[in-house]
């Protein structure tokens, strides 16, 4: 079961196309953790996270320079190569310079309809919540138009329930990973697949996975590591770490804890609840000021007896690069050595990274 999660990610385009055909419903592409997928789900559509590929972005490079964060260029490249032709819309939130640029890039260069820009405040405040809530209402109306369905308060609450359940399940997997019952790669596959298939289906899958994992014996003697990453849209890097004898037991990554760590308060009015959670509880350094970020990292680290830290930032990501010296300082103050990688999202770099990781793990071991 856990192996098949990887399949869902690798075959995501075929899977999405098949779902569209089977259900006669629409698929909406999503960038970043900041988009309240619950709204898309409540409209009866399937939200899918846009992922890049480790192939040369030959088409994408005609629209973006090469020494910027490679992830969005890779995503555009996929769209230009026709891999995302099945999308009925794409949601671009106000996150960072490169992601924002996706809005114009997809509109000008692809035939994908409904390229929607979601305003997201860049500062956490009460007025911000109100502004965001208004924008979510606007977003809701657009989704209703695209889907042809209306989204009732009830259906939204129900969607939030399903999503919260998924978050709980992923939390349980997070705990199990700390105990060595789930590997780092497996958890990342769980998160990635959660971003790609219908949530209620994923909940069922997670139930099965957790049961299967519960039957396992805790893994032995991997060197216990914490991973902080700006964007890892596949499991190659974590797989490399595990191949080298590392055991990822806690993380701060968008395709990891950042996606599911905080739940939506379903007691409140649903749009307000979504606004609160998605504004204040997405621990991305773009918006969250350092103090809050470090508090978050402490939370994800809590209870995990970690021996070392690996930080992987895609190149030219200002948001993460400014934070890096202080994050490093914070870890080193706790006696945790830090290994830093500047990633380029290529296959070739994995080989050179292997040497560094092996050496790091050797040092930590003895």
């Amino acid at each position: 079961m856990i192996e098949s999660l990887g399949r869902l990610r690798k075959d995501r385009h075929d899977e999405a196309r098949a779902w569209k055909e089977r259900m006669g419903k629409k698929v909406i592409g999503v960038f970043c953790c900041d988009v309240p997928e619950e709204l898309i789900y409540a409209a009866g559509m399937l939200p899918v996270r846009i992922l890049g590929e480790h192939e040369e972005a030959s088409e994408g490079n005609l629209h973006f320079p090469t020494n910027v964060c490679p992830y969005p260029t890779s995503c555009l490249d996929q769209a230009l190569k026709g891999r995302y032709d099945y999308l009925d819309g794409v949601i671009v939130p106000n996150v960072c310079d490169m992601i924002r640029a996706m809005h114009g890039a997809w509109k000008l260069n692809t035939a994908i309809p409904n390229v929607y820009f979601l305003e997201v405040p860049q500062r956490i405040s009460n007025h911000g919540v109100e502004f965001f809530r208004e924008n979510l209402a606007r977003f809701q109306r657009s989704l209703e138009e695209i889907s042809g369905n209306s989204i009732s308060s009830e259906s939204l609450k129900q969607a939030i329930d399903v999503y919260n359940r998924n978050r709980d399940l992923l939390h349980r997997a997070y705990e199990m990973r700390r105990k060595g019952l789930v590997s780092g790669v497996e958890l990342q596959e769980m998160v990635l697949s959660s971003m790609l298939i219908p949530k209620e289906e994923h909940n069922r899958l997670m139930d099965q996975c957790l049961e299967e994992a519960g039957q396992r014996h805790p893994a032995g003697d991997g060197v216990r590591l914490f991973i902080s990453a700006s964007m890892l849209d596949d499991t190659d890097f974590l797989q490399l770490i595990e191949d080298c004898g590392g055991w990822v037991i806690a993380d701060d990554m968008p395709m990891g804890s950042r996606y599911f760590f905080y739940s939506v308060d379903n007691e409140a009015e649903p749009l307000e609840a979504l606004a609160k959670r998605y504004l204040a509880r997405i621990p991305c350094p773009r918006k969250m000021l350092p103090q809050a970020r470090f508090e978050y990292v402490e939370e994800t680290l809590a209870g995990a007896e970690v021996q070392g830290v690996i930080i992987h930032n895609l190149k030219a990501c200002d948001c993460h690069l400014y934070e890096y010296p202080y994050l490093k300082e914070m870890f080193e103050a706790r006696g945790l050595p830090v290994l830093f990688f500047r990633g380029e999202e290529t296959e070739a770099e994995l080989e050179t990274q292997r040497d560094d990781i092996e050496a790091f793990i050797e040092v930590l071991r003895g």
Partner: protein, 261 residues
């Protein structure tokens, strides 16, 4: 009245002497450390070959990386314009030129009269340059001349993943150490180079006819891979390294005709 063009590149320096429509001769030497000095040497060598003296030259145009410090040139014109003009003289149907030099790689578009229309250059990294091939030849323990020959014998093509020369070097070294057939590795390398230069060409669009100039133009294996990528047959000058100097000489000839002495 003789028109002279000198092209001072970072690796090699070339000179072409023109009398009317006749190329009297050309010269080609290694630039070495001093550009001004090599400019003199290359012109001297050409004069010697043609059995002429400097006083018979009506006008000299310098081009290339070292053009601004050529002491005896009356004028400088960039290698972009010179390659357009030179290629056009050799092949009037040319509209796109790919010049793969010692240390840089240029893609040039020109019009029917050989005027420069658009261009893009890669002078920041080794991709598509002679320097890269020299490095790889050293790594594989073969000569530059052998590279093309061996590559054409390849039965299979091994994929080289690295886009950067630094990484490519270690990748190739590993493959050789693993016992992979040199010919297959070379085929992969040449393919990787073709992929890099194709990206460069895409920046300005490829319009037929395509001319490939520069030292690497002599490596038929690379030329074939590029042709495959682009989907066009390339026109190849007999002396691919002197196209720039020829263009400079043509500019000089123009000045003579306009009465500028």
């Amino acid at each position: 009245m003789i028109a002279a063009g000198v092209d001072i590149g970072s690796s090699t320096s070339k000179a072409v002497l023109l009398n009317g429509d006749d190329i009297l001769c050309h010269s080609l030497i290694n630039t070495g450390a001093e550009s001004a000095n090599s400019a003199c040497r290359t012109l001297d060598e050409a004069l010697e070959r043609a059995k002429l003296s400097a006083s018979e030259i009506g006008y000299i145009v310098a081009t290339g990386y070292g053009r601004v410090i050529v002491p005896f040139a009356q004028e400088t014109v960039t290698e972009l314009s010179c390659h357009a003009r030179g290629a056009n003289w050799l092949f009037p149907s040319v509209r796109t030129i790919l010049d793969m030099g010692g240390q840089d790689c240029k893609a040039i578009r020109c019009d029917a009269a050989g005027h420069l229309e658009n261009f893009t250059m890669n002078d920041k990294c080794a991709a598509g340059t002679g320097r890269f091939l020299e490095l790889m030849a050293r790594v594989m323990g073969i000569s530059l001349d052998e590279m093309s020959e061996l590559s054409l014998e390849a039965k299979a093509e091994l994929r080289i993943n690295s886009t950067c020369a630094v990484f490519a070097k270690s990748e190739v070294t590993s493959l050789i150490r693993e016992g992979k057939d040199r010919r297959d590795v070379l085929a992969g390398l040449h393919s990787a180079i073709a992929a890099r230069v194709y990206n460069l060409l895409r920046g300005i669009g490829v319009e037929p006819d395509l001319v490939i100039s520069g030292g690497i133009g002599k490596n038929i294996a690379v030329v074939r891979k590029i042709e495959e990528r682009v989907g066009l047959s390339a026109l190849l000058p007999e002396e691919p390294q002197i196209v720039g100097a020829l263009g400079a000489a043509l500019f000089a000839r123009e000045r003579i005709m306009l009465g500028k002495e």
